[in-house]
């Protein structure tokens, strides 16, 4: 049953998560359980916690690796820092920010929603107005996605920090970095982020299973008085076991730990900055292909272009869902659906994680054939040519092979 949808050759996985896992990671995870109370697992965990800090670019943050998903990581970020009724300024710019806002509301916060048209970034002018008006500091936190996965929009977090500094506003900055961290430039300490989080199945290129949260000292301080009820997601329990040295309040996935070790080793070997450059290269190439096809990027301005996912707007006579279905049914190509407001109007190409140029070009070539199949008059090879032309000028030699 597991393979009843089998097709020859590799599945071309280009959804914006879960993403392609390196073979090294699959191998590292192909493993027995171990006693997590033996000395080995805490020792390993300690090193992991230190190394994970590097992907957040923090030296002062505290890492929590919770056996959960991004949704759980969101919940952990909120409930540990806020109390019911607290005012949170939150930006609605696509399906994932919408879901986070829904969570914030259900957890009892007073959510002050700043909405943008889907395809645009967070409206930071509105934020400025709110901060200016909030001399009383009723705003306890600003919740913002770094990269909205539904529309392929990257927000400028440095501006958020600048505004807070300008108005000397003490609000916490909570960042959903699910489709950004390890792929886009992100700097916890430099940018004054208080909580940032990601999920293992995104740019870290692991299976789903770890919600990874990084909390600033200020966030840790806030967690001591935050009144949201929580146990599973409570940082306090982690901090207690960190202190004890046994590290885990409950059973971690041994396999995910070894997988994370392997994933970090690969990241560091390539160099985090090179990884970010690679994502920029693949993102740019994708956008050039979209342009060559005569299609529009859902992202309305260059300043918001996302290097991890591109939402491609289809003409009104084409159903974006049909593109995705057809890609899977004929070419073994997995693309992302348009969600909610942009359902049917876009399809998405995820280009994050452990991926290289020729994989992307194969995907783009597949998209061209799919577009033609569903009735869009694309010139076959046009997008690939545009992308390849750029990649041929920018792809570096593989350092380990020189």
């Amino acid at each position: 049953m597991a393979d009843y949808v089998n097709a020859p050759g590799r599945t071309h996985l280009f959804v914006p998560g879960p993403v392609n896992i390196p073979d090294q990671v699959i191998r590292a995870m192909s493993r027995q359980n171990e006693d997590y109370r033996s000395p080995a697992i805490p020792a390993m965990t300690k090193i992991l916690l230190e190394d994970v800090k590097k992907i957040f670019k923090t030296t002062t943050g505290t890492i929590f690796m919770i056996p959960t998903t991004g949704t759980g990581a969101w919940e952990s970020a909120l409930t540990n820092t806020l109390s019911p009724g607290d005012r949170v300024v939150s930006f609605l710019i696509g399906q994932f920010s919408l879901l986070w806002i829904d969570q914030q509301q259900r957890l009892g916060f007073n959510v002050d929603v700043v909405e943008s048209e889907w395809g645009r970034g967070a409206d930071l002018d509105v934020l400025e107005a709110k901060l200016r008006a909030d001399a009383a500091h009723t705003i306890k936190a600003i919740a913002i996605v770094h990269n909205e996965t539904a529309t392929g929009v990257t927000n400028d977090l440095t501006k958020v920090r600048r505004l807070l500094d300008t108005y000397r506003h003490p609000a916490l900055v909570l960042v959903d970095g699910v489709s950004s961290i390890c792929a886009l430039d992100f700097r916890m300490d430099e940018w004054g982020v208080d909580v940032a989080l990601t999920g293992s199945q995104k740019a870290l290129s692991l299976p789903t299973g770890l919600g990874i949260i990084c909390a600033s000292p200020k966030a840790i301080e806030a967690s001591k008085t935050a009144k949201s009820r929580r146990v599973f997601f409570d940082w306090k329990d982690y901090l207690k076991f960190y202190k004890l040295g046994t590290m885990w309040p409950y059973t971690p996935s041994i396999q995910m730990l070894y997988g994370l070790r392997a994933a970090l080793d690969l990241l560091f070997e390539e160099g985090l900055d090179n990884v970010i450059k690679r994502h920029n290269r693949l993102g740019t190439a994708t956008r050039l292909a979209v342009e060559a096809w005569g299609l529009k990027n859902c992202t309305q301005k260059e300043e918001w272009f996302s290097d991890t996912v591109t939402a491609v707007v289809v003409p009104p006579y084409i159903d974006g869902g049909e593109v995705v279905k057809h890609a899977w049914k004929r070419y073994n190509l997995s693309l992302g659906l348009g969600l909610n407001k942009v359902a049917g109007k876009v399809f998405r190409i995820g280009h994050l994680g452990y991926l290289n140029e020729l994989q992307l070009l194969g995907c783009l070539s597949g998209v061209e054939m799919v577009l033609r199949d569903v009735g869009y008059p694309v010139k076959l090879g046009s997008g690939v040519a545009a992308a390849a032309s750029y990649l041929s000028n920018t792809t570096p030699m593989i350092e380990s092979r020189l």
Copy 2:
């Protein structure tokens, strides 16, 4: 670094979780990510949900497979069925019931704790008194562990049901089946359990990563009005996606789904009743060995004997922690520590999951050597002989090989 504690040959894993994973499951999980929004994963999920019901022995229950641990499954069981302030009768008989009670208190319930000496089962006489006295039905739920992993005590759940029936009491019955389900006889429907839960890394013999919850129609009904704040653990979101047919409110672990498929296939091939018999066989053999060594079982009465874990009481002059440490350091044998009140006083042998007779005998032989090493005058071979004598009379032929 991952292997810095390497030792020749297999690690003998006899902690009561995480347990030994079948090779078939490790293989099934050694796999790429997939788009969980393609038709394949929902189709697979639907079949899994039906099959998981069988391990709870239910036809009317609803299954939730949440990417979390047992602790998260606990939280899901409580927050979906209860509102802050609700009165819960809870039995404290060891470290895991204690942790669950701590969770209940932190989540804001009014917990009516019934404590027993560690090594004894839940005091159901006290429960009876409370039910008798509760004509007003202030008790909203009874929370009980089926098997206390810290002391190796199995509670008689049928008695709980009988008492509720006798007093026509509508309280929900919430059961922690973490170290029982798939190993001990458990019957959701027949016993009138309202919520039962387990973790993937226990008798299901998977890695950590799935909290599996089964809710009766009455529990589902209760979830509609329960006021505990929850999002990640909210059944409502699952029920919504079940209805939509896309099945997942957020990204599941593809690998865990395939692993679960393989684990269930193995369980059904062996036959759930045969699996339970095998656990009884291994539990009995272990107890006979303990007796032969002249040591005491932490479990005070036969009625509470656990077929999944045995806590062995060491003489006062021996440190149970030393037994565990030594086993790992000299014989590559992982045993369970004594926890909290019984720390140092016991060590634990986990005999649950995908395990056979000769594996257990190797472990028992190792325990004998360890005991001698730490200064207990055990007769080498005595426990193995007692266990083997029993196993030699009771182990069935392997059906597939006849």
Copy 3:
């Protein structure tokens, strides 16, 4: 050290062997050793032997799966059917036929070599002349490669049979099917082939390790009197153990057997004829790309075009070896070198095994970038467009996903 040449993303493996292994096969092989004398392995082997016959399209042949490579399979074919001094007509059309001829000479046969220009097929007119002249039947065997991997030339085996029939010549027909069987149309019984052989790492898409030989009843008969000294490769030992039912004269690789099982399951699920069509599709697409690039196929006539490997002739001012080196060093793309007479003059694209359209298009796009990098003025996208245009018209829907 194993990974010191690591590069992000997948390696694009387009050498004509070893080829891409399906994940299902890698999983099936990720496994412990087993006692090959238990009843399980012989039972499994018997079924495998029957199933392997299907890939040779034979019902009368006998299969030998020898733990060796294609070179060993060659030796087995020769030494079991011929005696030193026997006259063998052999066709030299490229590096692999050359190596086989070298082996034939070193094993003491009287090799009558028929040479063609590299890039042309076996000269069957010369064969006809020799057969006509050989009333005395001094020719004991005809040795021919079905597909010359060095030049991408497929010989017409039906013609060989026709000639033998015409001249009522009893010579054995020994066929190297290393880069053809499971990818090109091959019919042991219908074409009257006496020995055919392949290696596991070719179109079967396994690791190296099995030399698979199929012998006709006439070949088996010949083996009874053939005087070439042999033990490891002797069919007699296999036949003896087949008769005993224990099947193996010496230890097989347990992992390769399970891998072969998985590989055959995939082949049969897709359908052998569909597999052959897929190879034709990918081969045709590759040739169209080559044409679009303005380059020449090493294969001189369409009748010899190979659907498993294409040797692309580079202009004199380009070094084919440089193309291969550069592809690997910049784009993580493995192409085949030109060998011996065509060293430097060609590079090769292997398009056999478990491979699909988008993988090939990714490769072709990579080749375009490489060509430009090494100084050939290719129009980026041109080959991909030509290939995609053809594929877009011919690729069937994936049956399992309809």
Copy 4:
């Protein structure tokens, strides 16, 4: 079908080959094919060849890692050093020496067989007589198994060397080290061995697939004039490719190379001498158990005791084959059958490869139960006690865990 003989828990694999593979090795081998003509594989191969020398304790030898089995390695040793008609003194002491002699005869050598009763070692007095009588040096080689796997007999190779030195005899010494190298003390250079060989599935603890041969300079010299016909097994081709730096005359198994790398890493981490001590410990423990059961070791004298396999003589009223069958059918325990002359009279316990104390004790406990099941009045626990008593005094602490 692959799993139709499935049984719960681990299979206890105690045949003398193929043996238990470390998880690290299985993981390392769970991998895609690679282009063996890229720079990576030759670079890796060179290091492997150097490291493999260490397991032979040679600095002057040349290693050949041929994709074959032990039988192929035998053939390689013989055909590269000898010419048809050459006189070889060969010792028949059990089934494997018998098979090697059969091969020697079929390859056309003049085999001078020295037979011993099965259970005894090679009769070196007869060798001495032959050497003394051979002033003309008609003896070209002495072929001897270091450890006869069928009877559990280890020959003293130092004595062979002493005799040759005494009589200044130039005969080559060809050693089958299949069930000894990496487990028993073996010293190529110090003992003046000319060709030694093993198979990957024995003490190296890999899958079947590599025949590993080590040739002394004198053996290499002999290979230049040896007239046995050979191609696949010809060292000349390897030497040519070693010189070219591309290392492989034909396609190696990429997976086996990575597996070998991992296996060697584990061996060197433990320390080859510690590995040998571990085998001695497990061998001794097994023999103590046999004694405690009141059974006889097939090996007639202590000087020949084998630390890799023990052949246990059963009483006349017991069928050794029944022991093996029953172990597999009831306890998931794989033991070795008695072969040929000792068929039915013995069963064998293989205790070589990646194995530790508790695994062996589990096996011994299983053997006790089997013996009782088939009607031998064994005292359960007796063998385990004897073995554990010894192991408890001799097993070192695990260094990496101190």
